[in-house]
């Protein structure tokens, strides 16, 4: 693209690093965070499960085993895993369409997740939702949502319902850096602060909105979107599991006590393309390499080994178990039935006898 063009253009060019510098990770240890050894290994397993689930899903997608969009979470697993660890089982979570990681971390079985990708009746949304719409309401996972920014008010509403019932529960609403530019943010933040709703808004800042770097789509620092409302806010390193856990444990406790909203910008990175069709020409190999050195799973692995919480063999054992689990999930998904044809007219309305227009 010619120099002249750059000079004359409306949208800023380059400058990806703005808003993506990683804050320092916490110095805390698993002990000081109250994480037991087996919990720690469970967290490793949790992250690794998400990683392998998606790597395999990508293979299946390329083999043409299922259709639709496929947005991979690979690189961002510390957030989903740490967030789930920090929250109670009955706290509420709602997220965007890049939802496999959060869904699995929240407890959607790999079988149900894989089957959903394949559009089978055994899927976590009965095959009606697909990759972008994982749901598990029993686990208080209110789904992946595909209209950018449209679920921000839903997060506030879920929190409002909890507050109306005087339940001291936290609702966490996750969205991407690109969603920050939707008007729904202004409206939801103002209402959440004005009404003191117990909701935590989380920007998953992975540096890009599709091919557009944060610097090219948002003026100012993302976390500053909290300023007009006097909303509590912070920026954290999203590649470090302990940092995520520390932050959300603290925030969750605060919210339970004062029922005030927060905005947390979590800086992370997406190792894969926006979706399977994205070649990713908008970023450099160097940038990718640099962020690879922050891989949240490698990081945790190193911590576990260096602190002799487990040895290579133990971790390999866990990994192999997961690999098996994923392969079984694929088998399960392939062998599961598609929804019955009648399902086309089910679950649209509450009533199964709704008189559909012909």
């Amino acid at each position: 693209m010619g120099k002249k063009t750059e000079a004359a253009g409306f949208t800023p060019t380059g400058a990806v690093y703005k808003s993506t510098k990683l804050p320092k990770p916490t110095k805390k240890t698993h002990k000081s965070l109250g994480i037991k050894k087996d919990e720690l290994l469970g967290l490793f397993e949790c992250m690794y499960r998400q990683r392998r689930f998606e790597e395999r899903a990508a293979q299946m997608y390329q083999k043409g085993k299922f259709g639709g969009f496929l947005h991979l979470y690979i690189g961002q697993e510390a957030l989903s895993s740490g967030l789930n660890h920090a929250l109670n089982a009955d706290d509420d979570i709602i997220t965007a369409y890049r939802d496999h990681g959060m869904g699995l971390a929240r407890g959607i079985p790999t079988k149900a997740g894989m089957a959903e990708l394949f559009g089978k009746k055994t899927g976590c949304s009965n095959g009606k939702g697909g990759s972008m719409h994982f749901f598990d309401v029993e686990k208080h996972f209110w789904g992946g949502h595909a209209i950018v920014g449209a679920h921000l008010p839903l997060g506030a509403g879920i929190a409002m319902a909890n507050k109306l019932r005087d339940e001291k529960k936290v609702t966490v609403c996750l969205f991407g850096d690109g969603a920050v530019d939707q008007g729904s943010l202004n409206e939801s933040f103002n209402i959440a602060q004005l009404w003191k709703l117990p909701v935590v808004y989380v920007i998953e800042n992975n540096g890009y909105s599709m091919g557009t770097s944060v610097a090219r789509h948002s003026a100012g620092e993302l976390v500053d979107r909290a300023l007009p409302y006097g909303m509590k806010h912070d920026i954290i390193n999203g590649m470090d599991l302990f940092t995520v856990i520390e932050k959300f444990q603290q925030v969750a406790e605060e919210v339970r006590n004062d029922s005030l909203p927060h905005l947390i910008e979590v800086r992370t990175y997406r190792y894969r393309g926006h979706s399977m069709s994205d070649p990713g020409n908008y970023r450099s190999k160097e940038e990718m390499q640099e962020f690879k050195t922050f891989d949240p799973i490698e990081r945790l692995k190193t911590y576990i080994l260096e602190n002799n919480i487990a040895d290579e063999k133990k971790l390999e054992g866990i990994s192999e178990e997961i690999d098996k689990e994923i392969l079984e999930a694929i088998k399960f998904a392939e062998e599961s039935d598609f929804p019955d044809d009648e399902e086309l007219y089910k679950h649209i309305y509450a009533d199964d006898d709704f008189p559909y227009l012909k």
């Binding site: 509420d92 709602i94 899927g123 976590c124 949304s125 009965n126 095959g127 009606k128 939702g129 719409h133 749901f135 598990d136 309401v137 209110w142 789904g143 949502h145 209209i147 449209a150 679920h151 921000l152 008010p153 839903l154 997060g155 506030a156 509403g157 879920i158 929190a159 409002m160 319902a161 909890n162 109306l164 019932r165 008007g183 729904s184 202004n186 409206e187 939801s188 103002n190 209402i191 004005l194 009404w195 089910k346 679950h347 649209i348 309305y349 509450a350 009533d351 709704f354 008189p355 559909y356 227009l357």
Partner: protein, 326 residues
């Protein structure tokens, strides 16, 4: 049984349901301390307090979505739009979130809520404040759409809407809020999806909903003097639409005129006309005609507005055409 205004009927419906079920609450612009822009919610803040009668900022997308989220999580919100013209900035929350989340989740999520407020024109309010949205909402699956014409129907239908487990679009009119009618004090419900014959007749069928029912009534009175007995059917619910009631009537009258305040292209009239020609083709002695606002935005000037708004005369002309009397 006492005479009650339309707005009182609505207020009674909401108040009764809020007393009956504490999951029901209402939010919207000026609904609480101001007692409602059109006084529909008058006194409700005093009775139920600020946790259940909630003033919102002018953030239709925001509070509509907050309502959807609260409904997903077990509440039964009533979201009032000052008018449905303003719901347009928040319509994504209605036609995507409220209407589709149950389906996308494979039936895991229930969204029992009501979006209500005035719809269509209310005099010289200009192009952006005069739009009838019933065909738009009826076009998108996942929603129920109701447009009540009088106080009795309004109360019975709104109570049913609040108890319904689907997202319901409940349309009213500023211009009928003051209209009075006998409304029972004892509880009654009107089933969603059932129309009613508001005038018996054998010469021509008039299908009209919302404000248009009254235009049809005026036309029918005129036609009567002329020896023409028009049967007036008020579907009351736009979706699901009680087409069988219309078919039965057309089998008798063999003529149909649809009166609809929507713009013509793809309006309620087009849909009803299409279904009738398809399902009662052999019973029609004349083409089905429609009386709607013209395909132009509402003008401000009084004279132009009067030309724009469907009149009894327009209906009479249409009836004369389908009865081959002119």
């Amino acid at each position: 049984m006492a005479e009650k205004q339309f707005r009182e009927a609505l207020r009674e419906a909401m108040t009764e349901e809020m007393r009956r079920d504490e999951r029901v609450f209402i939010m919207g612009e000026e609904v609480a301390e101001y007692d409602g822009a059109y006084k529909v919610t008058q006194g409700m803040l005093a009775e139920f307090g600020g946790r259940r009668v909630i003033d919102t900022p002018i953030s239709e997308l925001g509070f509509a979505g907050v309502g959807v989220g609260a409904a997903m999580n077990g509440m039964r919100p009533i979201v009032e739009f000052m008018t449905f013209n303003f719901a347009v900035v928040g319509i994504d929350q209605i036609i995507n979130n409220a209407a589709k989340i149950r389906s996308m989740s494979g039936g895991q999520v229930n969204i029992p809520m009501v979006f209500r407020g005035p719809n269509a024109s209310a005099g010289q309010l200009g192009a952006t404040h005069s739009v009838a949205f019933e065909s738009l909402y009826a076009h998108f699956p996942g929603l129920i759409t109701i447009f009540a014409a009088d106080p009795y129907d309004a109360k019975g239908l709104l109570k049913s809407a609040i108890r319904d487990d689907n997202p319901v679009i409940f349309l009213e009119s500023e211009q009928t809020y003051g209209m009075k009618q006998e409304v029972p004090d004892e509880e009654y419900l009107i089933p969603i999806g059932k129309g009613v014959i508001k005038r018996d007749g054998s010469d021509v069928t008039l299908v009209a909903h919302g404000k248009m029912v009254h235009v049809a009534q005026m036309a029918a009175k005129e036609l009567e003097k002329d020896g023409i007995e028009a049967e007036i059917i008020d579907p009351r619910t736009i979706k699901p639409f009680d087409i069988d009631l219309v078919i039965e009537s057309v089998k008798k009258t063999n003529r149909l005129v649809i009166v609809d305040e929507s713009h013509p292209f793809g309006g309620v009239a087009a849909e009803v006309g299409f279904q009738i020609q398809r399902d009662a083709f052999d019973y029609l002695d004349a083409p089905i005609l429609r009386v709607t606002v013209p395909d132009v935005p509402a003008p401000f000037a009084r004279n132009l507005f009067d030309l724009w708004f469907p009149s009894p005369k327009n209906v009479i002309d249409a009836v004369n055409t389908v009865t081959y009397r002119k």
